[in-house]
């Protein structure tokens, strides 16, 4: 242990790799030297100044800023049978994520300084950086706003009532206005739950065939549209739309961006990979909220990922125990795990099939999400940044096996999928936290 610490303090040189750092406009062969938890130097091959005790050969690999996931459910406090901060961050590391933002819909809800602090404590065993998102209203009941200033000071990087959207317009207006005063992003799970009661998938020919009640596109689009209009009313308001899934909602986001309102959004790998037809015959691993949508919606998401409308790929990693998934479809919990398949799906679907440049995909995992929640010194490998690095092989073909996942749960539709693009090493604060075998 001692020797290891010494090694770490002696620095790490990542040699021979191809650096893609969209924030720093780097896309070429570079060596990267990490020292004392920071990027000490980044320079063309063999040109870095300074030395290191440890060298990592990255020949043939892409060296990127550490990936940031804006949307994960680590299930602590209170639901450690699904996931813990330790197991969830281990899965994150295996998926190339060096930072994750965890949602507050735990038990109890993370709506206080105490819980925001608790999540970040070392004894939780997190192996990557954990940035809490705090509840916007007490117990996420949509009535009384939480102490935004206090929560931000304690480390919250945004507020959200994820899973229980803020429907009341006055509450949403107050949330945006007060968060704007301290430059805090408001993250909305956009769903008019008055329209989606008892619904378990997208309203579609598949839902009709299966006899399942369907969620209408309007349930998402109407809330996004309203929120974008509200965000335009307050200078400095920052609206971030979580897991956007419909072409209609993209229209509102585009309108917001054109009007210079601070509107951002994220898209999940499952929404750009699958459609509602994949529910097939009641596959509960294809049950999530927002639900898988139509092929036209998926195509619109891919266009928006390419053209810059979408700011980040976020997994909405939502682990659930077997007894919550292998039950009647309508009773099964919403959500799937996603941390370990995100990069493979992005490269397979977006880069290889849809021809989105690798640099854009890296941006969606790094600089994009870093801007959404203002993670300073992250999402880039510029000199002086945090020494968070993701090294991956964009050409490596591999098969994802859910049973070998680091997550405590294996509720994923991607078990057995052959993917291209695999994480080789994940480095947090200069320390290797994951290496593929």
């Amino acid at each position: 242990m001692m020797a290891h610490d010494k090694l770490k303090s002696g620095g790490l040189l990542i040699k021979g790799g191809h650096v893609i750092d969209p924030a720093a406009k780097i896309d070429g062969p570079m060596d990267v030297l990490l020292h004392d938890g920071r990027v000490a130097d980044i320079a063309p091959p063999n040109k870095v100044r300074g030395s290191a005790d440890q060298t990592l050969n990255a020949r043939g690999l892409v060296v990127a800023p550490g990936f940031i996931d804006l949307h994960v459910h680590l299930r602590e406090p209170g639901q450690s049978y699904k996931e813990t901060i330790a197991s969830g961050t281990a899965a994150a590391a295996a998926g190339g994520f060096t930072s994750v933002c965890c949602m507050p819909n735990t038990s109890p809800v993370v709506d206080s300084v105490e819980w925001v602090t608790w999540i970040q404590q070392a004894q939780r065993g997190g192996v990557v950086n954990v940035f809490p998102i705090a509840a916007a209203t007490q117990a996420s009941k949509g009535a009384v706003l939480t102490d935004f200033r206090g929560l931000q000071r304690a480390g919250a990087v945004g507020v959200s009532d994820d899973g229980r959207p803020i429907l009341n317009e006055t509450t949403m207006r107050d949330t945006l206005r007060l968060a704007a005063e301290i430059n805090l992003p408001v993250i909305q799970h956009a769903e008019d739950t008055r329209l989606t009661e008892n619904c378990s998938m997208n309203e579609s020919t598949t839902s009709f065939r299966l006899g399942l009640r369907g969620m209408r596109v309007a349930a998402e689009a109407a809330i996004v549209d309203r929120d974008v209009q509200l965000a335009q009313q307050f200078a400095g308001a920052r609206l971030h739309v979580a897991h956007l899934s419909t072409a209609d909602a993209l229209k509102s986001v585009r309108r917001g961006k054109r009007s210079k309102a601070h509107v951002t959004c994220e898209v999940t790998p499952h929404h750009f990979t699958l459609t509602d037809a994949d529910v097939g015959d009641y596959n509960t691993y294809c049950k999530m909220n927002p639900p898988l949508r139509s092929a036209a919606d998926r195509e619109a998401l891919i266009v928006a990922l390419a053209d810059g409308t979408v700011d980040a790929i976020a997994t909405d990693h939502a682990p659930h125990a077997t007894h919550e998934k292998i039950i009647e479809f309508e009773k099964a919990m919403f959500g799937i795990t996603g941390l370990e398949t995100a990069l493979g799906l992005a490269i397979t679907r977006l880069h290889r099939e849809s021809r989105i440049p690798l640099a854009r995909i890296v941006e969606l995992f790094t600089a994009g999400p870093a801007r959404v929640v203002d993670l300073r010194g992250r999402g880039t490998l510029a000199r002086g940044s945090h020494a968070d690095v993701t090294i991956f092989d964009p050409k490596k073909r591999w098969t994802f096996e859910a049973a070998k996942s680091r997550s405590k749960s294996n509720n994923t539709p991607f078990d057995g999928w052959q993917l291209t693009g695999r994480v080789v090493a994940t480095i947090v604060s200069g320390k290797i936290v994951y290496r593929s075998s």
Binding site: I326, F329, E330
Partner: protein, 304 residues
Amino acid sequence: MTKTARGSLLDIEHLDTKEITGLLQLARRMNPLKPRPLLRGKRVLLLFYEASTRTRSSFEIAAKAMGAMTTLVLSSGSSIEKGESLLDTAYTLQAVGADVMVIRHPSAGAPLLMARHLKIPVINAGDGMHEHPSQALLDAYTILRHKKKLPGLQVAIVGDIYHSRVARSAIHLLSKFGARITLCGPPELLPEMATCLAPNLHITRTAEEAVRGADVVMVLRVQKERLAGLKIRLQDYIARYQMTTARIKLAKRDAMVMHPGPIIRGLEITWEVADCAQSAIVEEVANGVPVRMAILARALGKAR
């Protein structure tokens, strides 16, 4: 799809016309009044999570007419009330020695889930809004007692189609055999996307248009228990869609009036139409027995 036991009957959608024809032929050889001990010593488990009169009693009588033992488990008064899951209930009933499981459940897909995990065949006796395959089979059986063949037959299905598992199964079955189907109901109870279920489905919003020239008029109940907050003005519904003598007159002279039951007289159908000479409503119930005998015999490998 994970494999399910041979002999299971989970839906009509995945059944081919050969299997359907085979079941209907077998049903024709079944006579509830002349018991055949085809299933002597077999145990038929009836697992009902939802209310039922017709389906439950006719499965039970069908099983007994072939010498099988039946055990009825209801969600109330069983460990289901204590929170036992569907699969654990299924494993338990398989372990006590059930040879076949007949299940009715309010959740769509529940029989399939069960069949994927059990070694014994599972028969779907109605799952949520999804399917009710034995009802579609007995309806086809009933139609074929009066009409020569299904291809080209003009069928009007009028009423609450969105919430109806009977409608989904009937549409799959009749369209597989080339019947010409017209669906009729208000948009809340019959969304446009209903036409995706099968090729060549037509939708109309006027009962007269649906019924005109029909060989078969199938009337469906407004499923108040599944409306989930949906507001239907019953007076409007009655005015536009109730099956009345005047409307039935628009159909062919020898048209059959069918209804899977339970019927609500005065709502979707008048007293007169329910009991008219063309009504096959009671006959449908009676035909449920031989059809379910055939389903059980097939499930237990006695389809000879």
